[in-house]
Each structure stands twice: as structure tokens, then as C-alpha cells.
């Protein structure tokens, strides 16, 4: 799936990870990044701002 992110922006994203990637590995990840964009969009649908995550901190938990 072709990603929407530009190659320049993707290069910045990759650099932030600090992973020692070869050119070939970067190309492979770029090719799959479209899936990540699609998934991120699917889970970010509109919801009331007070909706909390599934994991909530419990005071006193051991």
C-alpha cells in the first residue's frame, strides 16, 4: 500500500528511531508504512474527549 507520507518526512521519522537501517531496509519499511497510516486513521475516529483508555492507573496497586 502506497503511503501518503513524503519520502523526506518518512526519512525524518526513521531517523528519530535511531535504528541502524540500510537503504534497502528503509525502502521496505516505507513500502509498508501505508498500512500504519490506515490503521492509525481507523482507531482515531471522533469520540467524546472524556473517553479514557482501557488501562487506568490504580492507586496503591502492587
Amino acid at each position: 500500500m502506497k503511503p501518503m507520507i513524503s519520502e523526506d518526512a518518512f526519512a525524518v521519522l526513521l531517523a528519530q528511531t535511531g535504528l541502524p537501517l540500510s537503504t534497502e531496509q528503509k525502502k521496505t519499511l516505507h513500502g509498508a508504512y501505508g498500512y500504519v497510516e490506515q490503521i492509525a486513521a481507523r482507531i482515531s475516529g471522533p469520540r467524546p474527549r472524556e473517553v479514557e483508555p482501557a488501562m487506568i492507573f490504580r492507586a496503591g496497586a502492587k
Partner: protein, 469 residues
Amino acid sequence: MAPPLTITEASSLIAAGKLSPVELTQDCLERIEALNPVLNSFILVTADRAMADARAAEARISKHGPKGPLDGIPIAHKDIYNTAGIRTTGHSRLLEHNIPEKDATTVAKLAEAGTVMLGKLATHEFAMGGPSFDLPWPPARNPWNPDHFTGGSSSGTGAAVPPGLILGGTGSDTGGSIRGPATLCGIAGIKPTYGLCSRAGVLPLSFTLDHTGPMAWTVEDCAILLQAMAGYDPDDPASADRPVPNFRAEINGGVKGLRIGVIRHYHEVDHAVGEPTRNALDDALSVLQDLGAEIRDVKLSPLADYAACAWMILTTEAYAVHEPWLKSEFNSYGELLRDRLALGGLTRGVDYVQAMRRRRELCVEMASMMAGLDVLVTAVQPNDAPRIDEVPKWAMFEKPSLMAPFNVTGYPAISVCTGFGPGGLPLGMQLVAKPFAEPLLFRAAHAYETATPWRTRRPEMKVEASGVA
């Protein structure tokens, strides 16, 4: 050599003094010697330990009788379960020489129940990357046809049970890694309720999705294994502090009157399965209906919503686990895992939080829908096992996983064999129950399993003195 025994059969024979744990263990070791070169299901065979366990069981049983149904029963552990003094690798070059000092909690519990440990079983690298051909050990192969995939990541357990190399074993399930290989290898496997079985001492993949559980030839054997594995463990922060019920107490209760919901849109629309899988599932539903269950279709949010939520959580948490090694030893991972993990480094913090918010919404939806039902049914895998060299690197993106919804919600799910496809490879379905309703889940799955002929058929891998015939 006689056909393999189930745990239920072997434990009855041992209790009656008609079967020796030593002979049973020797039988398994002979099968391993003959078949493992083809199946690659074991990456380490602990024959000396197994024989010592078996002799100890025999001596104990001859004096006091068996301490339970697992006394003297040979099993093995997925190689992400820590075993004290015995190499635990995660099937990865990174841990090739790793020898833990302490057993995983579930390993210790199974040993305490009297099991005989035969060794460590193949997995996808760190329970995520496979099938891989660039690791120190080859991937496990399907006993029904070794050219085909076992499913993963509990691939060695799936491959070892059908031809009787082990009577049962451990698996782990983060996105389907027990149910997937159980289905493709034609056995039973249960992902218990999140929190029922400790994960302490098991190499983590995704903290909020990881489950440990058993795999075996039958549903009842899974119940026996889970009985030993389950229970509160203060060393696992997700462990549920509640009593463990008797998982076999109502196993023969049948399905009469049970309300079964079929999530038909999952396997007919959202991830349309192949015709053999669909026909076998429809036949299975007819069996359950004939046994007295009330069957009706139900609807949930699209499968892709659950799968997206699962992928975002799994990959981000897995990246958090592996980031230090990825930065220092990136190329020590197999290609499949390092590429899959690296994507997790590209997700944003806000995406993870949004996935966790969506998770809560999906849990509420599932609970609301289950309020009027006892059991859910859908497919596990879209088809029978593909060839082992035809599994795409990004398969998880191409179609949403049919198993992920029950990792996202933590509901218990068991896969059972529903027959065989045209090429003789197994098919399956999964049954799902409310959290901590494992006794009812075993009851429904056992009713189906014992009403159908699939447990009478084992793969035709003949064990000869000189190897595989």
C-alpha cells in the same frame, strides 16, 4: 508403534497401573527421534531430564498413586517459557545461549503437577517473526503435510501434538498464536481469559495482549493442562486474584439450551473465508444446533476495527520491549521480525493512546453483546495451511485477523478441529465465552468435539526404527 494417546487416556492407564510413565516417555522420545528431523518442532530435547522426571513419577505413583491427571505425562514448552538451567532462546540468535535461573510460573506449576518435560519447542522468533529461514533453527512444519505452514507463533507445539511427540504443551497467544497453529495443525488450543494464567517468566511480546495457555489433542486435555497452569501470581501484574474453578466439572453437560451467537459477518464479509472452512463451520453450527443449542447471528463493529486496535497496541508494546536490542543488534534478528518490529518504532504515542481508548469502547460493545449469549462462534483461519514458503511478510495487514478481537477484549477463546480440506489439511473454528467462563467454554467445545469424528484421525507419519517411513 501404537497410535498416540491423549492425556485423558494416558492418565487413566497410569492410574490403573496399566501404563508406565517411563515407557510412555520412551515412546515420545522415539517419536521425536524419528519425526523431529522432518517437523523441526523441538529446538532442544531434554531426554535425560525427561527420563529422570518419568522415573520419579513412576516411583511416586507406585508408592502413593498419581497426584493428579498430569502425573507422569510428557509435555514440552514453547521456547519463550523460562526453564531453570535449560536454554530458553525465543527461537532467536539474540538469546542463543540464554539459560534462565528460574522457571516461569506456569512451567513450575506444570512440573509440580507431575509432568515430564521433554524439551523446548519451536516458536516464531520472540513469538512474532515467522516462519523464518534465517534463524539458528529452522521453522516447524505441519505434520499433515511438511511442505505446509503450522501457523504461529506456537508452531512447535502445534506440530508436535498430532503425531504424538508430546501429549500436550504450552503456547502463548498475543494475536492468535495458540488458536492459529492449533487450527492449522488440527488440535485444540485455548487462549484463556486475560489474567487467568500467569505470564511471569515468559518472554513478553505485548504486555496487554499476551496470554499463556495450553494446546493438546482434545478439549478435555486442554482443560486438564489449564487446571495446573491457572491461578493468581503476584509476579504477574495482570494476574487475576480469584479462585480457579474446576474446568472439567461441567465438561459433559452438553450444549442443550446454550445460546450461541455466530459472528457471521466476520468470516463471511469482513474476512471472507474459503469455501471448505465456511462449509465446515456451517456443518459445525448444525451439529451444535442438533445437540440442542440455540443459534443466532450477531453483529459487532467491523473486524478491521478490532484488528487495527490490536495491531497498534501489539506493535507499539513489542517495540518498547525490543527497542534496546533493535538499536544495538538490529541485524541479529531475523528479517521478518526486525522489519515487523521496526514499524512499531514509527507509531506515535497518541496513536497508542487512541488504540487504548478504542479498546475500551470495543470491550464495552463485546460485553453488551455477550449479555444475552453464552458462547460466540466464528472462524479462526481463512483457509487450511498455506505452503510454508508462501507466507507474506505483511500478511497481518492484508486481511484483518479473525482472532485479534479476543486478545483486545481478553475473552477466553478455544479453537477446535472442524474437519479436513480437500488436500487433507485440518480446518477449525473458535468458540468464545465471557471472561472467566472457561468451564462453560470447555463444555461447549467438548460437546462438539465428542459429537464429531475428527479426533479419530491422526497424521499419517509412520514411525519406524530407522526414521520416518
